[in-house]
Amino acid sequence: MAETESAPPPAVAASGSLASRGWRITSRYATVSVLIAAVIVWQVVCDFHLFPPIALPSPVSVLNALILLLAHGYGGHSLFDDIWISSLRIAIGFVGAVVIGVPVGLLMARIDIIFRTIDPFLQFIRPVPPLAYIPLLVVWFGIGELPKIVLILIGTIPVIIIGTISGVKGTPPLRLSVARTLGASESQIFRHVILPSSLPEIFTAMRIGIGVAWTCLVAAELIAADQGLGWLVQYAGQALQVAIVIVGIIVIGVLGYAMELLIRVFERRVVPWRGHG
């Protein structure tokens, strides 16, 4: 209040935005504060030996495990090898799912017979947890790269297809009427109106899909792999190296978050009109 009164008139008008900027800074600090507080609580719990250190290593020993992993790796390969191979599997699986899922979704939305042919399979695959496919995929494809990528496809394609269909069906009728009265043909309407109209929903599906893909991959690596972040967590767990397990979990979480952010950046560039009708 005192600040507002002492400020000259032009600044008074701007004080609203200043206040909201102040709020934004506070809320950004909130994230960092909660993180720091959580680590401190974690450290205090460890210092009081409430749990055996083998079950709950302290933040300091997790940090040491991270340094050890960065310097020497674990189980025969470095942390970066595991990150690289997992990221590569995700990239191939996810890009494959988008490349297959978007055109299939577009066709299903436009052509009824294709919808009726594919939809039952889609609805059958969807409720089955991806984990249930792993034994089958191992029997069929071994423990190489193929089963992991197939699992990512199985998990992610339905998400992309459903988002694409919903995007096409959600095209505002007014946009279609406008194009018709301006003389657009059906194929022009599809290309110049329906396709761009469905992009925001396709991006939403991609953001959900990248999470699903990541979950599928880590699950596959936990069970049938000899490298990758899922394998790292599983291998260290068997050796009761809980600090390394926690490092692995943190890396998996941070990478998943980074992928989401990457798609958001991409989305802002491709559909800048999102949220503007």
């Binding site: 018709r180 301006l182 003389g183 110049h192 992009l199 800048p272 009109w273």
Partner: protein, 244 residues
């Protein structure tokens, strides 16, 4: 006589929305259709646009029955319906691009943009424009096609009072320049009389034409004409019909 509507009726299921509507629109005239909401006036316009077909009767454009939508009868809707992924200039050029992507007549596009007072905003996206400007872009997008008949479906109804007033004045000035053939749907009595050469008043359930009257006001029109006795007389008649 570009448009002839002959004994047209339209049913939605068992509901008779329009019953035996006949109307002729001459070249270069501005015809306003006035009616309460639900009287079928938008249904009538959609059939002229070719977006739906009559259940009875027929609609002729230059003597040929209307088979579907086409750029000779562009519609300006109540909402602008602009494409948010296109700039203002590309929105205006949309119809020309559909006609021929290689030979867009950009000078004509830029001329219409200038006439509509939108110069300087060519690279803006629709969501960066005010509601009134968006509706002017929609009008520019229609005019650039040089339609035989311009169809307007309550184009100013979604705007605030001040903007609507400005748009009506703007349309009057514009019409003096281009003298287009216009079919204009509205539920606003003042708007119908002020803009129209002819006012068609519709009754509801089923929709039908109750009054068809030339507007006895000279052109160019000004807002002050709404105080003239001839205006008030016509307004009284229309009010009487709309009140039931």
């Amino acid at each position: 006589m570009p448009i002839r509507i002959e004994h047209v009726g339209r049913d939605f299921g068992p509901l008779r929305v329009l019953d035996d509507v006949s109307l002729a629109i001459e070249d270069g005239t501005f015809v306003t259709v006035l009616g309460a909401s639900g009287c079928g006036k938008t249904t009538l316009l959609n059939m002229v646009a070719g977006l739906s077909a009559p259940s009875r009767g027929r609609i002729l454009l230059d003597g040929k029955p209307i088979a579907g939508p086409g750029p000779d009868r562009v519609v300006v809707f109540q909402q602008p319906g602009l494409y948010p992924w296109l700039t203002l200039r590309d929105n205006v050029a949309f119809g020309l691009r559909m006609r021929s992507a290689r030979h867009i007549e950009w000078p004509r596009v830029d001329e219409v943009i200038a006439v509509m007072g939108l110069r300087g905003f060519e690279s803006h996206r629709p969501y960066e424009l005010s509601g009134g400007m968006q509706q002017r872009v929609a009008l520019a997008r229609a005019l650039v096609m040089q339609p035989r008949v311009l169809l307007m479906d309550e184009p100013f109804a979604a705007l605030d009072a001040q903007t609507r007033h400005n748009m009506q004045r703007f349309l009057l000035e514009l019409w003096e320049k281009i003298q287009a053939t216009v079919l204009f749907i509205t539920h606003d009595i003042d708007e119908a009389i002020l803009l129209g050469d002819r006012v068609v008043v519709m009754g509801a359930r089923p929709g039908r034409i109750v009054l068809e009257q030339s507007v006895p006001l000279s052109r160019p029109r000004q807002w002050e004409m709404s105080l003239e006795p001839a205006f008030i007389d016509l307004k009284r008649q229309a009010l009487h019909i709309l009140a039931g």
